[in-house]
Each structure stands twice: as structure tokens, then as C-alpha cells.
Subunit: 326 residues, 2 copies
DNA sequence: TTCAAAATGTCAAACGTTTATCAAAATTAT
DNA sequence: ATAATTTTGATAAACGTTTGACATTTTGAA
């Protein structure tokens, strides 16, 4: 691979001059600029990022830690992140941590080793300490990591409220919630609270079951079937759209009419759901805005590591009404 | 951030010794090893990847260029790549090139600049020349890039055959194909050929329409509706599952029974489809195997840039029969 | 004790840049 | 033509490692 010296030789100038051209500083004549550029072209030269960064330049790399990318929600989010970062001249190292704490830790170390300029974290299996000693600008999606890591999220409480309202106004008297695993500081908790609060206002009670994210769709389906046959439920709020799809399937299999017998509300409202399951009433998280916010904050922190940021940035969600509620 | 010298000082040994510990060469006593390790621990030290790579060590970075990750097929593939790479100690720089040639070119340059050890390419908007002058080990998914870039793919021809057979054996007499945009060396071409060849053997003819990947689901739906109302079609083969979902929706909306009025076969068979749309008959591409193959070949090339590889590696696909054919 | 082997240390070059300093050459203005 | 200015060059240090050559110390055994 061609180096700066090769370019200098080919262009018939000094290495210093080439560097000046690349970094556009000092005074340069048009003539030498062209000479250098065409030499770079000819040799398909790319300044060695490693060497530049070593000398103190930014790497222009951002580490993105997510649970995974095959889930449409995170898929869309990652895509959006990538897209927006690229437009700002950054590249992304994607880390799918799954729910593997060790993997997340390894990735964190790796990102440090690679001197990324910053980290966007959307997967959180680790304790606070791990994140504290990273010493890099970090922005978190939807979960508390450490005191100086700003959290960007959508309004989970409002989402819960909207879901409840939508079930109630379409006639549900015996609503049910299906959540993923309910860990202590999981964002779905606020969804629950919002949901609960609205129900209480209407003097309604509700049932709740937990279907861990990690369990397979088949197992979930089974439990859902059980639920639908045994209980006299007339409305279901799932804290993610995919589970809502399973509910829909099972309801159909049991010949329960949606929305007359069962009203159904999902959560997330990804493009995928909007495009391929527009019948589903759901709460849409503003992925694009969330990402814009995260990147904005992150770049601020990168520019000025000491800049003060809020602890929380909460963006509004939106109810998308489909045929599964009236 | 702590450097090697800091560790040396803290551990009370020389920098050389620390390096020896890190790289595990030369002779070392257990005692110093422990001293060094605990110093590294204490300072949360990570050897600077940039410096190491500059000195000639591998970066352990692999560039992955894909059209995008919000599509479940590529989402799953990227996830699989990430997973397998991680297990082998590599990290991934994900590049979503969309169908933007300029972006793909930019990414290619960036990957060179970052001295990735190799590239997996699944998005191909660029001409051969661009890929030829990269000068890095590359493996391509499903498309021809350049003479010395091995192609890993699943058996598109066989996929077409299976789709046709499945439509025919479930009673279709007037099959229709819906493909994405049919570019000259697109893999869907062989799917078409396989499909056609089987039909010919059965003295059947078929219709074809193209719905460019880039067009929105709404537009596609409209065209599908048109198709379903105007023609007397009794079977449809979509060269991707998502389009098949749209067909299913439109058929239902038009009160056409599946599979009695219309038989339907999709393509790809991602986990997502298998989990959430198991009713769909589809051709499953062996994503895991494809990825294993690609990584295997890539690492071989990285180890020995001159090693001879085949031009094509074709893996078998599998028919998954669901309720949309009998 | 003596000697070999094992364990460290010292020193320096190298990887490909960036950047500062100083000097020289080329260009422009007067 | 002279001075002032602009452009370029030469040199070197620095970024944080790795690695080799060589020297020194420690250890353990004969």
C-alpha cells in the first residue's frame, strides 16, 4: 500500500508538502496541489488512519453497542445511526452484545483499544463501574449506565398511557399486559406505570405476564395460547410489536376476533411494522429523532469532553391506530 | 489513557518486559507476569490497537459492506457475521451502502485507510475496477465483483426450481413471478431461470413483473393489487419474502383464498419469517452456512493472500413448506 | 562455588503520520 | 534590482507499540 513518501517521490515534492496538502495548511501553490492530488489518485493512496490517529488525530470511529440487529427495532436504529454518522464523516464499529455481559465487556475493551472517539450504548448487561472506567464519551439509549452518561429515550410512561387509553376507548374491560423480562431499571417499567395509572383512573384492573425476550417465539406462542384460552381477556398490550404479532396469530388460530373479542396494542412502531403490519395498533418510538439526539450529544461531548449535558432527554411517542383497536 | 510505559512504571519492570508479557514471548517468570497483569488491571490498560497495527500487527478489523440492515435478511446475515467474527477475535466495521455507489466507494476508501484485514461485500453498486484496486482480501456474497474475488452464494437456480415445483405440485396452472429489479448479473436471474426451466418441463408458461427493491411497500402493494384483480393468476413466486407478505395481504383484502385461489411462495426464509410468518412457503437460504463459508475463506486469504480459492461456492437452499402452498 | 540457563533490562529502530522550526528557493511587489 | 512575501524543503521529534541485539542479573543445579 502506498505511503506518504511514495506520493512525495511520485509528485516530486517533499513529504512535508504532501502532508500539507492532505491537511490543507501552510501556504501551497495550486500547481503543487494538483501534482500531489494526481499522484494520490494514481497510486490510489489513502493516508494511514492508524498513523494519523496515533499522532493525535481523531479516529472518526464510533462504537455502537446494541443487543442485536436482527430484531427490526434495533435493526432500524442501527441503520439510522450508521446513516447519520456517515453523513457527519464518522464510521461505526458495530457490537452486538446480545445479552452477554462478558461479550459487552470484551467489546468495551476493544473499543477502547481502537481509540474510538465515542460510544453509543443500547445494550446494558454491565454494571455501572464498567462504564465509568471507560473514560470515553458515551451516550446511552433508554437505560441508566452511570451518572455522567446522558440517557436518550422516548417517553415510555406516555407510551404506556397511550396504550391503555387506546385499549379502553376501544372497549376493553379486562386488559392484559405482556412484557419482556422485567429487570429493575428496564424502560418497560415506565410503560407499565403509565399503563397502570390510566387504568386506575378508569377503575380498571389488569393482568400481567412476563415473557422473557430470550425465550423463543414458539414458547411465547404457547404461553399466549394458554393465556387466551384460560382467561377472559378482551384487550392486550404487548410491550413490543413482535409479541403482538404472536398474539394476533394465536387469537386467529383460536378464532378470537380482533378487535371485537380482543383488542391489541403493540409497541415500537418500526418501519417494518408500519409497512408490513399496518393493521397493528402500536406506539411508535421516534427512532430517527432519538438517533439524531444521541449523535448530536455524542459529538458535543467529543468536541468538548467537559461540556455539561442533561441526564435525560425524553422524546415523545406517537400512537398509530390500526385495525387491532377500533 | 494508560500506556505501556505507565504499566512498566507501576509494575516496576521495563517496557520491554511488559510488551513481552502482552505478546507472550521470550522467557518470563510467573512473578513478573502477575505483577504486570495486575498493573494492567489497575490502570484498566488496553494496548493501543493503532500503535500495534502500525507496527505490523493485524488490525483484526473486518469491513462488512451491505445494502442495509433493516431488511431482515441482511439483518440476520450481519448479525451472524458479527457473531462468528467475534468468536474468532475479529471486529466488524459495518458499512450500509444502500444502493448508493458513491457511498460504497467512500466506504471502500475508508476501509483501506483503516487498514482492515479484509472485506466481506454484500452490496455491489460499483464497477470491477474499484474492487480490483483495493488490494485487500475480499469475499463477495452472491455477486461477481472481480476475477480474484470468490463468490459465496446459495443455489439460486435450485431455489427457482423448488419454487416452481412447489407451485405446480400444489396445483398452479398460471404462475406469476414477482422479482426485484432485474439487473444484468443479479442473482435473482438464476432464480428465474430455474423457475422457468421447471415450468417448461411441465409445458406451463408464466408471467413476470418487476417491482424494484427501492420502491415503497405501498407502491408495491398497489401494483400487486392491480395484478391480482386483472389477471387470472393462481400462483405467485416472489423472489423475496417481504414482497410475498404484501401479496398475502392484498389477496386477503381482495378475498382471494390462499392457497386455494392463489398459491404463494416466497424467498429467503429468514428466522424472522420462520418465527412470525410460518404460514409462508419459502425457499430458505442457509445464512449461517453462507457466513461460515465466507469467513472461512476470508481468513484463509488473510493468512495467505496468495492462496488459491475457487471462484464460486454454492450452498444448497431448502424448501420450507407452509400453508400458502398445499 | 561455579556455571549454565533463565529472567530481565537497556537501547534503538521501525511503523506512517503530523507538526514545528529553520532555511532556502521562488515569486511578487516596489 | 531589491525587498518582501510566498512557497517549498530538510530535519527532527512525537504518537505507542513491537522486536531485535546485547548486556546484565538472578536462579538453580552441579
Amino acid at each position: 500500500m502506498a505511503t506518504l513518501d511514495d506520493i512525495a517521490k511520485l509528485a516530486g515534492v517533499s513529504a512535508t508538502t504532501v502532508s500539507r496538502v492532505i491537511n490543507n495548511y501552510g501556504s501551497l501553490s495550486e500547481k503543487t496541489k494538483t501534482k500531489v492530488f494526481s499522484a494520490m489518485q494514481e497510486l490510489n493512496y489513502q493516508p494511514n488512519s492508524l498513523a494519523r490517529s496515533l499522532k493525535g488525530k481523531k479516529t472518526k470511529l464510533i462504537g455502537v453497542i446494541m443487543p442485536g440487529v436482527s430484531n427490526p427495532f434495533f435493526g432500524q436504529m442501527v441503520q439510522e445511526i450508521e446513516d447519520q454518522l456517515f453523513k457527519k464523516g464518522f464510521k461505526m464499529i458495530l457490537c452486538n452484545a446480545g445479552n452477554d455481559a462478558q461479550k459487552e465487556k470484551d467489546y468495551l475493551r476493544m473499543l477502547m483499544a481502537n481509540r474510538v472517539d465515542g460510544i453509543i450504548a443500547g445494550s446494558h448487561n454491565l454494571g455501572i463501574e464498567e462504564y465509568q472506567k471507560v473514560g470515553l464519551p458515551i451516550i446511552s439509549f433508554d437505560r441508566y449506565l452511570s451518572d455522567n452518561v446522558p440517557i436518550v429515550s422516548s417517553d415510555n410512561y406516555q407510551g404506556g398511557e397511550l396504550a391503555a387509553q387506546s385499549l379502553i376507548s376501544s372497549g376493553s374491560k379486562n386488559p392484559q399486559i405482556i412484557t419482556g423480562s422485567n429487570r429493575p431499571n428496564s424502560p418497560t417499567n415506565s410503560r407499565l406505570t403509565g399503563f397502570k395509572d390510566v387504568l386506575e383512573k378508569h377503575d380498571l384492573s389488569y393482568n400481567l405476564i412476563e415473557l422473557p425476550f430470550s425465550s423463543s417465539p414458539n414458547i411465547k406462542s404457547l404461553k399466549i395460547k394458554e393465556l387466551l384460552t384460560n382467561k377472559k381477556i378482551d384487550g392486550i398490550f404487548c410491550t413490543d410489536d413482535l409479541t403482538a404479532l404472536l398474539v394476533k396469530q394465536q387469537a386467529q388460530a383460536l378464532n378470537l376476533q380482533i378487535p371485537t373479542d380482543i383488542r391489541l396494542v403493540g409497541y415500537d412502531g418500526t418501519n417494518f411494522i408500519q409497512n408490513y403490519h399496518s393493521e397493528l395498533t402500536t406506539i411508535m418510538q421516534p427512532i430517527t429523532d432519538i438517533v439524531t439526539m444521541m449523535i448530536d450529544l455524542l459529538l458535543k461531548r467529543i468536541d468538548d469532553p467537559d461540556c455539561q449535558l442533561e441526564k435525560n432527554y425524553v422524546l415523545p411517542v406517537k400512537l398509530i391506530t390500526g385495525g387491532t383497536t377500533i
